[in-house]
């Protein structure tokens, strides 16, 4: 009977694993193979020269790689921390405001999350427009600048702009995760602390935050993974520019593939990104897996 049940399980798992195999596992292995060959303008690796790890050597010795690596890390750290602060604030707000406003507030918070990344990029490109962009004119009206800044042409501002546009959506996503955690904080604990005279800040620091710590960790890990893989917002907003200032690992690897048509080097680039993300994602999966209880 037990033997039979594991056979059935195998049959039920097979179709999903075939799909994952064809469109995820196989391509990853194939990319790893590409990365060992000298491939330009073609992916026919069987006819190409085997170069061992030379592509990795080239990539790791290039200034562009370290530039995109530096930007990706800076972007990830800045975006994830900003998102977390804003997301936590918004999530707390949905539990703090008077009851009739809670549903409305939640609906407002979820909206940015649902906007596809590349459409979001187009929207922000218009908001950042140097002639009639809303943000430039707001900056002038608030006395932050004499004239609308060149958000996407100035290297420093371009970095900030990409981060801001990404955080707009990311804060929404973080808030959604944190709302889930906050919903599970027992109200009676907070009420009891209030009766004992604990102020709001104390209740937050001593009760709410420690209780939702697991959710916070999962949120930070998940958002870090997302930020490290970022592609569409960069591709749509700056295209990596000015120059290669805002190129991330993914957007630069994409240029290797489809602009420079160097599949060998591009694959080495992609594999390095993959290894970086996979190391972290193992941590993430270890965190969330034990909590599912199965028969």
């Amino acid at each position: 009977m037990r033997q039979r049940e594991s056979t059935i399980a195998l049959v039920f798992l097979a179709p999903a694993f075939v799909a994952l195999g064809v469109f995820l596992f196989y391509p990853i292995v194939q990319t790893a193979i590409y990365s060992l060959f000298d491939l330009e303008y073609s992916t026919r690796w069987r006819e190409a020269t085997f170069v061992g790890l030379a592509n990795y050597g080239d990539v790791l010795a290039s200034r562009e790689f370290w530039g995109s690596m530096r930007f990706t890390v800076l972007f990830t750290v800045a975006a994830v921390s900003l998102e977390f602060v804003l997301g936590l604030g918004m999530a707390l707000a949905t539990f703090w405001v008077v009851r009739p406003l809670r549903g409305i507030l939640r609906a407002i918070i979820v909206l940015p999350w649902a906007i596809p990344g590349v459409i979001q990029a187009s929207m922000w490109r218009w908001l950042f427009n140097s002639d009639v962009g809303l943000l430039g004119h707001l900056a002038v009206a608030l006395g932050l600048a004499d004239q609308p800044p060149l958000f996407l042409a100035d290297p420093t501002l371009a970095v900030g702009s990409v981060i801001l546009a990404y955080v707009w959506k990311g804060a929404s996503m973080s808030a959604i995760f944190l709302m889930g955690g906050l919903a599970m904080v027992p109200q009676h604990l907070l009420d009891a602390a209030k009766m004992d005279g604990a102020r709001a800040w104390m209740r937050l620091r001593r009760i709410t935050l420690p209780l939702i710590l697991p959710t916070i960790l999962v949120t930070l890990l998940f958002r870090t993974l997302d930020a490290l893989r970022v592609f569409d917002i960069v591709y749509g907003l700056t295209g990596g520019g000015p120059g290669t200032t805002t190129d991330t690992l993914s957007s630069f690897a994409y240029k290797f593939y489809f602009t420079f048509v160097q599949f060998g080097r591009g694959s080495a680039y992609a594999i390095i990104t993959f290894l970086l993300v996979t190391g972290l994602s193992l941590l993430y999966i270890r965190r969330i897996t034990p909590h599912l209880r199965f028969r």
Partner: protein, 277 residues
């Protein structure tokens, strides 16, 4: 007194959050209602006067046909949702309800696959889709997207299936029902709310998928989904932002309606896997 102070503060907080979350969307709406050709006029106004629907007619007209991209996206997302829920449902049933070795390992492997960055699969996938003759076709988008959606939906469905009662399933097994019948006629009906919630998330996820859509569509309109079409508009018409904005508003309508209708489901679905301890 304290009460009305709380109400007042709540209104202020809600307004600030709304400003942050909705301002970009509002500005695109305003731009879409400007008369084309007046986008670059100063000073900026909070509401266009007069309101013009011309851009909407333009993007729905023969030169743009945004409705074509929206239809493509609807078809792709619907097919991906159906396919992914079926495959993930089978896998999740095995993981949540059947006894077998390497269960945790199977689930971990599926989840790892879901974390792989798109860039590491895109080149071989492009070659594969080309060799199948599916470049710039909807099936060329649907098949890989089904695979991409399996990890999240397996996760959500396994969590949901695990909490279903066992008595109906055991009764059906005692009656000698074959496993697939048990899955199809006992588990799936019981899990309808879970399937729905996973379905909404898969639908929205594949609606926004970009790297594959960009690569497979090859710049041709046949298989352009909404994200690719909008990016194309905004690059081709750098000065006609009223048109681009109208395109954005129309293509966001289905998503916004979906999210506002099923806001609770979305939040519960997204947090189900992440925060249950």
């Amino acid at each position: 007194m304290r009460r009305s102070l709380h109400t007042l503060a709540s209104l202020v907080v809600t307004a600030v959050v709304a400003l942050f979350c909705l301002l970009p969307l509002y500005w695109v709406l305003v731009t879409s209602l400007k008369r084309p050709g007046t986008e670059f006029r100063l000073p900026l106004r909070a509401w266009p006067a007069p309101v013009s629907w011309e851009s909407y007619l333009t993007v729905l007209g023969p030169d743009f046909r945004i409705q074509h991209a929206i239809l493509n996206s609807l078809l792709v997302s619907a097919a991906v949702t159906a396919g992914a829920l079926f495959l993930a449902g089978l896998a999740a049933y095995a993981i949540a309800r059947l006894r077998f070795r390497y269960k945790v390992q199977s689930l971990t492997l599926i989840q790892m696959a879901g974390m792989a960055p798109a860039i590491v699969v895109i080149a071989p996938t492009f070659v594969l889709i080309r060799s199948l003759g599916l470049l710039s076709s909807l099936p060329g988008l649907i098949l890989p997207n089904i695979a991409y959606s399996i990890p999240l939906s397996t996760w959500l469905l396994a969590a949901y299936f695990a909490n279903l009662p066992f008595d109906l399933e055991d009764a059906a097994k005692t009656d000698g029902w074959p496993p697939f019948q048990v899955f199809l006629r006992v588990i799936l009906p019981l899990a309808a709310p879970g399937l729905f919630s996973a379905g909404v998330l898969v639908f929205l996820g594949s609606w926004g998928e970009f790297m594959l859509a960009l690569t497979i569509s090859m710049g041709l309109p046949e298989a352009q989904t909404v994200p690719v079409a909008i990016l194309g508009f905004s690059q081709a018409f750098q000065l006609q932002w009223a048109w681009v904005s109208a395109g954005i508003v129309l293509s966001l309508l289905p998503v916004i309606v979906l999210v506002l209708l099923f806001q609770k489901t979305v939040i519960q679905g997204l947090t189900a896997g992440a925060v249950r301890y």
